[in-house]
Symmetry: C2
Subunit: 327 residues, 2 copies
């Protein structure tokens, strides 16, 4: 199909996931107020967003309530305090959590779906954790959830390993396999290469390819729409782009691009001015030069995060020299 | 030519233009200190940047010294006070000015090249000013300058008009024709369409296609590298992305992408921390929600600029409603 101007139309099967509370929780140890989480939830419902990832389903041993807010563990009582008896059919919104391989007590934390307000479990793993991830996907599926998988940090994974991982994921019940640019290091041509690889590997399985981009080089939005253009049917975004380090694709940009009239930008803008501006006064996220540099060098952003929190957050040359000498 | 991973190589003919002082001058009426302009100049030389656009060659009648800094008019004495007897062969840097059709007294302002430190005149015009632009290009060429042309606001120009303009520009001495996304409204597929159109129209003329992007939707950098990928050999960027409204493609991002070892990122980072951080305290530029919205609606950013300068710069819903009701 060669269309003259495909950007004026839309694909009904394209679905959007809000990861504000989940990924944003990496900035503030998931210490969001109930009021804030509820406001995000209401905004997602009003905006026609398909999924809201409300936090991590990770272990209370590793992430105790003394140090982390409830959205790192997502106990059922915490969820219900905010979203009540959430009904995905009535609201059009599915509630998701992320369970990290190696960090989740998933056998006890994933309740039967009939006992939970949650609809979806997304499993995140690094390339050395694929066997556990497969077990987690299978278990969550058997408990009655829609499942998805995020293979993280793929910009430092060998291509044959990604191909092997995709072969494995193709045999699981996961409905979606997400391309995750954890380091915000990918350029458009690399996104193209990966989207084509993921789509080819999953062809005929009925599974969707998704995209989760980071904004280290101010390319999160561009790479997200690039993946969409090439056929990715799942896209992650967050309000004001909140997320670890340089943050994610901004929901207000993504919804402005999508042409499906079910998506409404106005409720998102309302959330930005009512809540995100205040949050920006309290915590930092978004692209800055140190994140540009870790993205350019294809490195984990943790050094940039530390540098931004240190004594000389704007001594860019120092950070550059330190990075150059360290590779 | 099908390359496996073209992003690890480079095209020697790709040249970068710094428009910090020229486009940034639209934020502060071109009131940059001599010290600042000299620092940008030094940074460009050290970073291996090919062109520095040092200001506008526009009329002192329209832009008097009482209201505008010297970089709006670029009198030879002002230029020489900062760059001395600038030598492009010795520094590797060509000095450019922009002359706006309708705003420049070009017949008197463009001196013979032998009497000026300037190397390049870029002519900017809207679609209704093409005949004057052609005269300006011809005159500047005859005075001994390299010339280029920027047809502005093309996201609201009819395609047959662009095609006609390109036919005309192909007959001029202009060495470069720039794709100018004045409204920051273009998406990747539109950039592709335009780059292909410009390249086809100029094929065989020896002219280059350039890209001048704006960051209203945080796509300036992405669209710039997209144009480069498709063959554009001239790219505009500015330090910290300074420029009218949402600003331009950030030089620190562009140089991080380019693989030609002649480009050095470090001098740019030094300028950012020594000068651009302070400037950010004094004047505002860069993407924010009102610019996102004018970009999404393919409108001139002037309303967003006014809104950001007004009483309620962060009342995004108000600006959205105002924009929606006004179209």
């Amino acid at each position: 199909m060669t269309e003259k101007a495909p950007w004026v139309t839309f694909r009904p099967e394209l679905k959007v996931l809000d990861c504000t509370v989940r990924d944003g929780g990496l900035v503030n140890n998931s210490k969001f107020s109930d009021e804030f989480v509820r406001a995000v939830y209401d905004s997602c419902v009003q905006a026609g967003i398909d999924y809201m990832e409300i936090g991590y389903l990770n272990s209370p041993r590793l992430f105790p309530a003394s140090d982390y807010g409830p959205w790192r563990r997502c106990d059922e009582e915490d969820l219900r305090r905010v979203v009540g008896d959430h009904d995905s059919a009535a609201t059009g919104l599915k509630l998701a959590v992320m369970a990290d391989a190696g960090k989740s007590d998933w056998k006890t934390q994933i309740l039967p779906a009939s006992e939970s307000v949650l609809d979806v479990v997304r499993v995140a793993c690094y390339v050395h954790q694929i066997p556990e991830a497969v077990d987690m996907i299978q278990f969550a599926h058997e408990q009655g959830y829609e499942t998805a998988v995020n293979l993280m940090a793929i910009s430092i994974v060998q291509e044959i390993e990604i191909e092997q991982a995709l072969e494995v994921f193709a045999t699981t019940p996961a409905s979606t396999v997400n391309i995750v640019d954890s380091f915000g290091a990918l350029y458009r041509e690399q996104v193209d290469h990966l989207v084509k690889m993921y789509m080819a590997a999953l062809e005929g399985t009925g599974k969707h390819v998704g995209i989760h981009a980071h904004n280290n080089q101010q390319l999160a939005y561009a790479n997200t729409i690039e993946a969409i253009i090439l056929g990715a049917n799942r896209a992650d975004a967050s309000m004001a782009g909140i997320g670890r380090g340089a943050g994610n694709c901004a929901m207000e940009l993504l919804l402005g691009f999508l042409r499906n009239p079910k998506f409404k930008l106005r409720p998102v803008l309302q959330l930005l001015q009512d809540h995100m501006l205040q949050l920006r006064e309290e915590i930092e996220w978004g692209p800055s030069v140190p994140y540009n540099i870790t993205g350019q060098f294809n490195r984990h952003p943790r050094e940039a995060i530390q540098f931004r929190a240190g004594e000389t957050p704007d001594d860019y040359v120092k950070f550059y020299d330190q990075t150059v000498s360290d590779i």
